[in-house]
């Protein structure tokens, strides 16, 4: 259980770069050798606001990619949307700023042992960790197709270099301002029928993950999703970030998205019971 975080360390890390990308910020943070133990799906918990901040809780961010051979030593990349006070503070950090991080945390995406065909589905900046995942799947010999969606063009995160690891990339926006008009989940049913997809990997809003589950239910497609629920600690002690999940015997328990997740088997999450008393 807690062995999930056996590689986690709390360190002071230096921001190597901070660039604006559309509505997001791309932060590159030096984490030294810890970069070698980060896997796609893992996240980082960052102290925000400085020493005398009234924000007492860490903020969790998915690691989008790691590099263990950059000129700065090991680094991780985060794609951050400056939504709330904490993420705005982080996005305001300049190059050279030192921040308190705990990394790597949580479960990682499972990588198939065989070079199967996989589909990656991302919503908004949820696409960020999928590019790092695509590199790993690509190296495994998998055929990797990717669907990205958002409400509007500026909320699509799709870096040029990320496209190298995918065999195809289709973009959907609800207002039609980029790619096809519609929802990212629209083509999934046809893709499952037409292609021999073994695994769908997804990251994005809970409504999107739930919609994918409705499509894969009753099929042989495995759905690995990275869930999100507001968390206080990120390390499994506060019990706030729970989701109803069934075990193999069908018993439903509240599992922590931080330590029993964030990557979960979509078929086990009880989507209709999220936010309800069991």
């Amino acid at each position: 259980m807690a062995l999930i975080n056996k590689n986690a360390s709390q360190i002071l890390a230096t921001v190597v770069s901070n660039k604006r990308v559309g509505q997001y910020h791309q932060l590159i943070i030096n984490i030294g050798d810890l970069a070698t133990v980060c896997k796609p799906g893992n996240f980082v918990a960052i102290n925000v606001g400085g020493e005398n901040s009234r924000m007492i809780l860490r903020r969790a961010f998915a690691i989008s990619r790691v590099s263990s051979s950059s000129t700065f030593g090991g680094t991780m990349e985060l794609i951050v949307a400056p939504h709330g006070q904490g993420s705005k503070w982080l996005c305001a950090r300049n190059e050279g700023s030192v921040i308190d991080v705990i990394v790597p945390l949580g479960t990682a995406f499972g990588i198939p042992t065989e070079p199967v065909q996989v589909l990656l589905v991302g919503g908004g900046y949820g696409s960020a960790p999928l590019f790092g995942l695509a590199e790993v799947l690509n190296a495994r010999g998998c055929r990797v197709d990717m669907l990205l969606g958002a409400s509007t063009a500026s909320k699509i995160y799709a870096p040029m270099e990320g496209k190298r690891s995918v065999n195809s990339l289709r973009i959907f926006t609800e207002d039609g301002s980029m790619g096809q008009s519609g929802r990212v989940t629209d083509p999934i049913r046809d893709l499952i029928n037409d292609m021999n997809i073994a695994v769908i990997y997804s990251c994005g809003p809970m409504a999107m993950l739930s919609a994918i589950d409705a499509i894969t239910r009753g099929t042989d497609v495995v759905h690995q999703c990275a869930v999100e629920e507001s968390m206080a600690c990120g390390i499994g002690i506060c019990m706030t970030c729970v989701l109803p999940v069934s075990d193999t015997e069908g018993n439903i328990t509240m599992q922590r998205s931080c330590i029993d997740g964030p990557v979960m088997d979509g078929a086990h999450v009880q989507w209709d019971k999220v936010g309800k008393a069991l």
Partner: protein, 312 residues
């Protein structure tokens, strides 16, 4: 280095250091053991356990507030049997001192829990949590009712016998805390845990409804620290002989010393661990240095120091 006796006692239980986890803020120690050695602190106070496994309240269960947070967990847990089978052996293997926190829905359930724990070895004390704010019926918050508080503690005392210290965890959400404290001490509590979270609420301005799934939640963190210091001071003034496990927003060695000076014999660290998994260790180290700097040679000397008579 100056000799400092850093050990403390709660009832007849001895601990090599005065810093503990807070119940509900460390699960059963496994997760924090990734970050420090559990045997290096005073002890682990485990998450309040009930008779049966419990799923707890719906999400959202958390809201950050200025210098604090609301939680609305609702005592999610594995139930006493699974806890005794899995969590106690782990803590013993870690050579951690163990304070088991129990919570019941009825007076009888507390006694039954005490009976289950009576024969378990390796436990230093039992915390009787009669003040969890996250229950469906506010009438179930025993610690808001002097008579119900007494009955719970009396039942546990009779069941457990005279050996194992009982620590009664009380709520600050009462008008006359010292009278409730006196009641539970008369009923057999050896020590008091002060304070549990303070009942609070946040309204979500998008939905224009209470933000938490359980509507109300318990406020913790530095925001409530002055309330905790006041509660400890009041109760220690009334019953200086009764040891207090102090808690409520402690994030530094200074905060811990403040509570010790108010009358606490030990300090539990809760919400600070959420923001910083090694907070417990740094608070313990800071407290040790601070005591030495201030010329104390033991914790005992500092307990209740703020109550000393005026110098003339």
């Amino acid at each position: 280095m100056t000799a400092l006796d850093f050990s403390t006692t709660l009832g007849n239980a001895w601990f090599p250091a005065p810093i503990f986890t807070a119940s509900g803020c460390a699960s059963s120690g496994r997760e924090l053991s990734q970050f420090f050695d559990l045997s290096d602190i005073g002890g682990v106070v485990t998450k309040s356990v009930m008779m049966k496994a419990r799923t707890g309240r719906p999400t959202p269960r958390m809201a950050e507030t200025p210098s604090g947070m609301l939680n609305s967990i609702g005592l999610q847990g594995p139930g006493i049997d699974a806890f005794i089978a899995k969590d106690i052996p782990f803590l013993i293997e870690q050579r951690s001192r163990i304070i088991v926190s129990i919570a019941g829905e009825t007076v009888e359930e507390y006694s039954t829990l005490a009976r289950k724990l009576r024969s378990v070895s390796g436990i230093s004390a039992i915390e009787v949590n009669i003040s969890c704010p996250n229950v469906e019926n506010r009438g179930l918050v025993f610690a808001c009712d002097p008579e119900a508080s007494r009955r719970v503690i009396d039942g546990v005392r009779r069941t457990i016998g005279g050996e194992l210290p009982i620590i009664a965890k009380l709520s600050p959400d009462v008008t006359d805390l010292p009278s409730i404290a006196r009641g539970v001490v008369d009923a057999g509590a050896d020590a008091l845990a002060l304070i549990n979270t303070v009942l609070g609420m946040v309204i979500n301005l998008d939905t224009m409804r209470p933000h938490l799934g359980g509507k109300t939640g318990g406020l913790s963190g530095p925001a409530i620290r002055p309330i905790a210091v006041r509660a400890i001071y009041q109760v220690h003034a009334d019953m200086p002989q009764v040891p207090i496990l102090g808690m409520g927003g402690v994030t530094s060695g200074k905060d811990a010393l403040e509570m010790i000076a108010a009358g606490a014999s030990g300090i539990s660290i809760g919400t600070a661990s959420f923001g910083n998994p090694t907070a417990i260790m740094s608070i313990q180290n800071e407290l040790k240095e601070l005591l030495i700097t201030k010329g104390f040679t033991s914790i005992r000397q500092a307990i209740g120091f703020a109550h000393r008579p005026e110098e003339v």
